[in-house]
Structures are given as structure tokens and as C-alpha cells.
Symmetry: C2
Subunit: 102 residues, 2 copies
């Protein structure tokens, strides 16, 4: 019965990570916190609007945090939370599987 | 650049596994091949129509194989392919993550 208990959490995790660009954004942030423009440059095929949308979803899910540094000009960076960084193990396994079987 | 190369395979794997019931169907089949009715009973909230649809997707993706035994009455069972069974590692990691962070 534990299956039924876990199922919604499990599915929502896969649903989130299955969205276009999300995996790549997380992977880029695994290298450390980044500015919006750094990520936009690292993933050139993704529009800025899409990146804004993905960041909102990832912030809401507690995977990414937006840090505002009160400098002049203001500096804004995005960082994985502990929860977000902890996704690396699952992402590595999925990637190994996808690589092996495609 | 390897990131960009892997991305579509990676996303389509997550997309497939993020669909409602798919993870649970695969987990049920990890215990060995089953009849349609066995799985329908194991996941009572899922409709038979939904299970038919999911099996079609999973067969198309090469994750599940439908085996027809020419007995009287005919026996049909569903089994994970090697590719399908190989998903257990990624599924375990996602589940651990979901359990830890929900």
C-alpha cells in the first residue's frame, strides 16, 4: 500500500522534471549559482520568456532560490536549494538510462 | 555541448514517467509479468481504459512487452523488457528524493 502513498509525489517529481529545459537548467545550476544571463547564454535555444517561466516553477517547487544582492546595479542570481541539488542523483540515473537505451 | 545532445532523450524519459499511473504500472511489473486484470486489481483507482492507453504507450516506448500464450482460453500477460526493468534504478532515486523532500 506504500506504493499508493508515494505515487502522487513521485509523479509530480517526474512531471516537473519532464518539462522542456528544466533538466538542463538544473544541470547548469549544479555548477554553482548563476545570473539569468549566464543561463540564457548556456542554453541558447531557450527563450528568455521560457527561462522566466521555468524559474518561477522551480522557485515555487523549492528547487531554485532567487538571490538579490543590493549592489549598484543590483545583482540577481539563481541557486539550487539543498532540495534542488539533491536531484543530481536521480538525474544521473535517468541520464544513464536514456543514454544506454536510445 | 554534451548537455544539449542528451537533453531531448532525458526530457522524453521524464515526460513518459511523469504520466499518471505509469510509475506505478512499471513498479507493479518489476515484481514479474502480470495479466491485465492483475494490474487493474493492484491499482484500483485506475480505469481499465487508462491502463490500456498506458500499456500502448509503454509498448511503443519498448518498456513493456505484451505476451500472448496460445492456450484455451488465450492468456495475455505483460512484462517489462530489459529496457523497462532497467528503469528501477532511476525510479528508486526519484522516489528517495520525493520521499525525503515532500
Amino acid at each position: 500500500m506504500d506504493n499508493f502513498h508515494m505515487c502522487p509525489k513521485f509523479e509530480s517529481a517526474f512531471e516537473l522534471l519532464g518539462k522542456r529545459w528544466t533538466g538542463l537548467i538544473i544541470r547548469t545550476l549544479l555548477g554553482g549559482q548563476k545570473r539569468f544571463s549566464d543561463i540564457a547564454e548556456a542554453i541558447p535555444n531557450m527563450s528568455a520568456r521560457m527561462l522566466t517561466e521555468r524559474f518561477k516553477e522551480l522557485e515555487k517547487a523549492g528547487i531554485v532560490v532567487r538571490k538579490v544582492y543590493p549592489e549598484v546595479p543590483v545583482r540577481i542570481e539563481y541557486e539550487l536549494t539543498e532540495k534542488g541539488a539533491d536531484l543530481q542523483y536521480a538525474m544521473n540515473e535517468i541520464q544513464k538510462w536514456a543514454e544506454k537505451w536510445s
